[in-house]
Structures are given as C-alpha cells and as structure tokens.
C-alpha cells in the first residue's frame, strides 16, 4: 500500500511541477513574503496575487524522528524509517525523508539539498539528501 498526495485546486501546481523536478513555494508579488503550505492569500499583506517560485533547494534539518512503530497499514513492514522537518533557505518548513543517508547520521542543523523521489508512476515527492561538501 502506498500513500500518495491528493492535490486540490490550491496545491495542484505544487505537485504538477514536482514531477518536473522543482519544489514550488508561493511568493507574494506585492511584498515578497514566501510561505508553505499553500494559502489563498499572502498572510503578511493579504494580497491575492502570489506567484509560484522554485525553491533554491537548500535547507537545514529542523528536527527528525526515527519511527519504529507503524501507525498506518502503509507503514507496515517499512519501519524503522526517518521523517525530518527541513527549513528551506527561503524560510518555510517542509516535511521530508532524508535520502542517501543512514538514519543515525541525520542531525538537527545539518545542511540538506533538494532531490526528488518518484514513489509511483507520475507521483513525485520533493525530498532531501545531505548537502554536498
């Protein structure tokens, strides 16, 4: 069993463009504020004219946990696995798994870089891996 995102009207661009290898963030055209998860208006100046702008892909691990007990049938047989919170250079925080890294080596504060993972045909998740260097 696989859990995939269900895009809605507001979030469709995020998932469409993830397939093309970009992590999109909403950015207010009027005041420049950037946020995630998506909102209908800018939470700072309330302008409705936002644009979707690709993240630089640079981030740091804000927190992480290694999950040992499956909390959904979909996780059965897949434990342990790691879930991290990543703070992007642009400011917003996203949920990710840290790929290409042993779980025990993931540290809060470590630099990570954007990558992508196709979990099912046409379903692509923005993910992160240790930053080079």
């Amino acid at each position: 069993m696989l859990v995939v995102p269900k895009p809605d009207t507001l979030t469709q661009p995020y998932w469409d463009v993830a397939r093309a290898g970009k992590l999109l963030l909403q950015r207010c055209v009027q005041c420049g504020h950037t946020w995630h998860p998506p909102l209908p208006i800018c939470p700072t100046c309330h302008a409705a004219n936002y644009e979707w702008r690709a993240s630089s892909g640079r981030g740091t691990v804000y927190s992480c946990t290694i999950i040992h007990q499956a909390a959904h049938v979909a996780a059965q047989g897949r434990t342990p696995y790691l879930v991290a919170l990543v703070t992007l250079a642009e400011g917003p925080r996203v949920v990710a798994n840290i790929l290409n890294c042993a779980m025990d080596d993931v540290r809060i504060g470590m630099g990570v870089a954007l990558t992508f993972q196709e979990i099912a045909p046409g379903v692509v998740l923005p993910q992160f891996e240790p930053a080079p260097g």
């Binding site: 069993m1 696989l2 859990v3 995939v4 995102p5 269900k6 895009p7 809605d8 979030t11 998932w15 995630h36 998860p37 998506p38 939470p43 804000y62 927190s63 992480c64 946990t65 290694i66 999950i67 040992h68 007990q69 909390a71 959904h72 049938v73 979909a74 996780a75 897949r78 696995y81 879930v83 919170l85 917003p92 925080r93 996203v94 949920v95 990710a96 798994n97 809060i108 504060g109 979990i119 099912a120 998740l125």
Partner: protein, 391 residues
Amino acid sequence: MYRQTAVVGIGQTDFSKNSGRTEWQLALEAVLAALADAGVEARDVDGIVRYSYDNVTQAMLVRALGIRDLRWYGEIPFGGIAQCGVVAQAAAAIASGIASTVVVYRALNERSGVRYGRAERNIPAIGDIVHAAGDRSPVGQFSGPYGLYVPGQVMALQAQRYAYEAGISLDELSEALCVLALQQRRYANGNPHAMMRERPLDREGYFAGRMISTPLRLYDYCLETDGAAAMVITSAERAKGLRADPVYILASHQSLYPHSEPITVYAADLTRLSGPGNIDKLYADARIAPQDVSVALFYDATSYSALSGFETYGFAERGQGWRYLKDNGMGLDSKLPMNTHGGHLSEGYIHGLNHLTEAVRQLRGTAANQVVGAEIALVGCHGASSAIFAR
C-alpha cells in the same frame, strides 16, 4: 470573568480498554453523574459545549436528557486543545447571561473504537494506492506521503527539537521524561479509578519500553481509553446555593496563531507553542502568579507535552524543564505536584477532561492523591488552552 462562574458538578464513567457501551451511553452516564453531583435537574441545563471530535452531539444529549430548552451550545475543534476551551466558552456564556447552567463533556471509545494512534481514520486503508488530502500535519498531502501520520510522531519531532535547543542529549531528555512517567504512574497506583492502578512501573521498565518514535518510548505515550467525563458549570451566585464547595473559575483562555493548531509541524518555534503574551495575561486575569499554584494538570498526550508545561506556564526557564523535573520531581511533596490522577499516561485518556475533573477534586479536597490545602489549580494544554481554578 474572575470568580463569576464555578464548577458545581463532576462525573465520569469507569476507564477501560473496552467499555462495552456506546459513546452515547458513556456520555449520558458521565453527564448524569455530574448533574447529580451538582444537584441540578437535567431539564434545567440550558447550555452545552462539545468537543467537535466527540461523536455524541448536543442534540443527542438534549433528546436523551429531556432538556427543555437548550438556549446556547457551542463546540471546540482541534482535539486536545478543546480541553480548557470548553471551560472558557461555558464561562463566557454564563458571564454574559446567555446561559445559566452549562454542561461540558467528552465521551470516547478510543481503544475499542477509533484509535487516535492510528492514521486509518484519516487515510482509509483500502486499495493499493491511498490518498493523503488537505494540508493538516500530520496526515495531509504534505506529510502523509512521507510517513508522518499521527500526533505521537509530531510530538517526537517536537521533543527532538527541544533536546537540541536545550543543549542536552536524547538520553538526558529521556531521564527527565522517565521521572515524569514514573511519578504519574505512582499517582495512578494510588488512584482507584486509574487504568494503571495495579500496574507499577520502575526505571528499568520505562527504559525497556519499546521505542515508538525517537526519542519517545512506549511509556512516554498516553493510554488509549474507553470512557467519559463531564462537568457542570454555573454562575458563582447560583453555585453558592447549590453546594458549600464550588470551584471557581479565575480565568480560562484559548489561543491560536498561525500553524499553532494541533498537531503542528509548521509553527515558527515547535518548542514554544503558546501565543505571545498569552500566559502573562492568563495569570493577570486570574490575579495570581505561578508560585501561587498548588497543583497543575498538564495535557500529556506524551510525557514531553507535559514536561513542556513546566516551561510554558513559568515554573522553569526555557530549556530547563528537564532539569527542573530531575531536581524537583512532581510528587505530592514537591514544589508543584503535577497530574496527580495519573494523567493521560496512567489514569486514562479522556482528551483532557479528566484533568479538569481532577482539578475540581483537588480543590474540594477529595482527590485520591490529595495535595494538602490545595487552593489553586492550573490546567493547561501547552498554552493553547488554559484554565485556573480556585476554592
């Protein structure tokens, strides 16, 4: 609001893994017990506040209790932070004159029915491909596909960040969480109504508990419980005519700020979930200082949530709650006895309503683990909902 309203009745069912009754029955048992305790006739109830998570609606209570005219009813969303929200809304309705006698309640078959530690309630497990929808964390489209499913995992992320900011190892954090879990268990061992009344726990047993989501182990998590609890709240004036020992509401607050609604991963600071200035205002409204509190009941979906309460409510400096616990403990002879009924970790998980009923028992002097001379009780869910009660 100060001392304008009071709790005059409390009631609860037994707490078990399998109630064998419907949630409707459980709610009625607890509400009728609370009404009997208050000496109030069911038909005279004119207000109800419900947790929006409760499957028992106001209409179901009105129908079964034969309430003549429910003139005011409300409900609080977002699960655990409804804890003191129901008190705040009941008190506000009474103080404003909209209602005179308000029932608050929580009934759930959380072990034999829908389990909150599982995510199938949000992501149905039917078929090979299942969908995570909405933007809630956990569970939603931005977290479910990554395997972040349930509140207990989010609290592990919060605890992990806490240790980092406090500059301590996860082992040091676990030592403090162990102090808390063991003391709550000792309290439960002395509480005949607690699910864990006959199940002692020692340090070895705590650390032998299986890891659920690092750094939180089995005994860092709340129980899963079938049961219900209820309270009756009325005006201070009416309360005096009903009983000799009303428990007055000094202050009761709710708070939301961007992404603070449970269970959050996006709030700016995951180690401080209380809104700015919110706790200062709580104490100011209650006309007390933290050192005046006799007993605290902190929301404990996990041991970490309760530990953070010592910092949120001003008993320990930021990042020092772990040290406070190790140095002071939280037993009956400590600076601040906390979760004296055993809490969610060891009495039962009634979504915070059993913390409220314990606050009332402490102030009446009838608690199983009584704090001698208790004058003021603080109940709080990480600053997002709080209430201060007094004799």
